[in-house]
Subunit: 110 residues, 2 copies
Amino acid sequence: MHSPELLKGTLQTIVLKVLKDNGRMYGYEITQRVKELSDERILLTEGALYPALHKLEAEGMLRTETETIGKRVRKYYSLTPQGRSLVKERVSEFVEFIKTMGNVLQLQIK
Amino acid sequence: MHSPELLKGTLQTIVLKVLKDNGRMYGYEITQRVKELSDERILLTEGALYPALHKLEAEGMLRTETETIGKRVRKYYSLTPQGRSLVKERVSEFVEFIKTMGNVLQLQIK
DNA sequence: AATAATACATAAGTGAATTATGTATCTAAG
DNA sequence: CTTAGATACATAATTCACTTATGTATTATT
């Protein structure tokens, strides 16, 4: 990302929405999916991602299942019903935000 | 603003663009214009605005003129040529950002 | 055999913001 | 007339989401 500042505050929204769209995923998989969707522009850092996942889990938004592949442990995350409604909220907040910014910056991308 | 987190990193862009569109403005005037354009959703705080203006001035992006109205002092800011090119850069960065986010969040607001 | 990718985790540090505080003038209300 | 709210600037203290750094361990590639 050229301007990482702008990304602030979008992490939860991104994680939740990607989980909604892709179902059950593990942390590393999320980083790769976001990298792909953003054409290399958004590279989630582990130091931000894992604490965010733990927090969302603690708040009851995500549920986890641990799976062992060979000798490697993977922690799969999926949305709880509460998490499902949070995604909607976060995404509409973001849409609202870009509409407002569009007005302030006089962008014609309606 | 419902989600003030999202606003992080947008202050410079907002200030520069509003100055570009409205010409010469003073600090308080900027807060009021942004409030108006955002329909009360973006309320710039003085603690963020004034340091940002000082920084942009120190970097040669803004030029100031002081005017005294009655006994009140107003500091008018306007863009320098350098500031003009920075606005373009910041605004395209922001447009790029919302395009990328649109892809990641699968928003159909093209 | 070494390097990169996969996969998790957490602690330390950063920096752009919020919050708090201070000064001072002008205007409207009661 | 005096008090509250708006106008107008400024800066210091604090917050907190993030980056950076570090750690462990497995698997794949060269």
